[in-house]
């Protein structure tokens, strides 16, 4: 039986991609940010998942303005890094797990979560930055050490799904994974956030107090977080802080009782309050 052992959340700031690709990791601005993931990389290397289910949002890369799927799952054999306006990132292509992905899609739809199946897509910084932060700065000729199933959630066009819907979706994802007969170790990522606003005269908003409460609640009382309305995310954490509903999707896939293995919070990372947490199922 496939089993979820842990969940990871992390911001997926595009400037991190640029810092890695331009080899700026040791510069004073970037050094504390990458240092914050040293423990995580070691933990991941020891944890050795077979598959990562990576919940993120597509930033107008795979999906253009013709379609905004609310919950989608990448079922392809492999996924290339997207060209987001400056060429494809020099990172390895991602090997999918089409059999598990198809199983999850079917299981979830029959369990009344109507997934959009994506048979071909490129993946943008929302997916490749978390891979770098947890698995290291690999070049295009290397291989990621595990399979990856991209799991895009729409948070670009309002309304995105509610936090509760994301959490419940995580529950359904877990049931689907546990119904897969092969023994696989699965880690679920929920990415994006924390407080940030990239647009308008309020750009640059950061709310450390709110973010800290959210991080605390994620471990101890995630169900309370599912009641936060969209307007509170935007008011308190900026227009792009809404990405944190994807953290609740990850949390819904874990046990109620989890151990917080690691936490990192840093301001600023470009326009963003960077947050990262590792939770292990008890």
């Amino acid at each position: 039986m496939a089993k979820i052992t842990a969940g990871v959340t992390t911001s997926h700031v595009p400037a991190i991609a640029a810092a890695i690709d331009l080899k700026k990791q040791e510069q004073p601005y970037w050094q504390p940010i990458f240092k914050g993931y040293e423990f995580s990389k070691k933990w991941m290397a020891e944890h050795k998942p077979d598959v990562v289910i990576l919940i993120y949002n597509d930033h107008a890369s795979a999906f253009d303005a013709t379609i905004f799927p609310t919950f989608a799952i990448g079922c392809a054999d492999e996924f290339l890094p997207a060209d987001e306006g400056w060429g494809r990132r020099p990172v390895p292509k991602l090997k999918g797990h089409p059999d598990l992905a198809c199983h999850i899609a079917q299981h979830m739809i029959l369990n009344e979560f109507d997934m959009t199946v994506v048979n071909s897509m490129d993946v943008d910084h929302g997916l490749t930055v978390p891979m770098n932060l947890l698995f290291g700065d690999l070049g295009p000729d290397e291989e990621w050490p595990c399979r990856v199933i991209p799991f895009p959630i729409n948070v670009v066009q309002y309304p995105p799904p509610t936090g509760k819907r994301c959490y419940d979706m995580g529950n359904a994802l877990r049931k689907a994974i546990e119904a897969y007969p092969e023994d696989l170790k699965v880690v679920v990522f929920g990415t994006g956030g924390m407080s940030h606003q990239l647009q308008g005269t309020r750009a640059g908003l950061i709310n450390k107090e709110w973010d800290t409460k959210f991080l605390n609640g994620l471990t101890a009382d995630p169900k309370a977080l599912t009641r936060i309305p969209h307007s509170e995310y935007v008011r308190e954490t900026g227009s792009e802080g809404i990405e944190m509903v994807m953290w609740l999707a990850m949390r819904g896939a874990l046990n109620e009782d989890v151990t917080e293995t690691y936490r990192f919070y840093h301001v600023p990372c470009s326009n963003t309050a960077l947050g990262h947490i590792i939770l292990e199922n008890k």
Binding site: A18, G85, Q157, P159, V234
Partner: protein, 136 residues
């Protein structure tokens, strides 16, 4: 007639200062503008756009306001005309600019001042939560 529950949902965002929410209505309004931006994910299109911006834009059926905003790199104008920041990112990446560069312009500060504000912990939410209650 708008559904009152949905109107309330949308109105709550309108009370937040300095913020445009890209909802389904704005998605309709900005469709052609956003699709033009998407075209810049291909190098051959970036080349054609750089060679003659006004000519390249003709095929995208933009409104005059959208076209002028693109040519003038009026980011706030593009947002007002239905542009979404992640789509506009393809345009400013083509220009060789970062999110921080464009965010600084939209706030009316220099990139230097904006970067300094971020290093000092970012924009404080106090006073930036509500148009109707600026003391929040």
């Amino acid at each position: 007639m708008a559904d009152p529950k949905l109107s309330k949902y949308l109105d709550e965002f309108e009370d937040i200062p300095g913020t445009l929410i890209f909802n389904t209505y704005r998605s309709r309004q900005g469709f052609n503008l956003n699709q033009f931006c998407m075209s810049l994910m291909k190098e051959e299109n970036r080349k054609a756009f750089r060679a003659n911006e006004a000519e390249y834009l003709k095929q995208w059926n933009l409104t005059d306001a959208q076209r002028d905003a693109v040519l003038n790199r009026d980011w706030t104008g593009m947002m007002r005309e239905g542009g979404n920041i992640y789509f506009l990112a393809k345009l400013f990446s083509t220009d060789g600019h970062s999110f921080q560069h464009v965010a600084a312009i939209m706030t009316g500060s220099t990139q230097e001042e904006y970067a300094k504000m971020m290093l000092e912990g970012g924009r404080n939410p106090k006073g930036n939560r509500s148009k109707s209650n600026p003391s929040l």
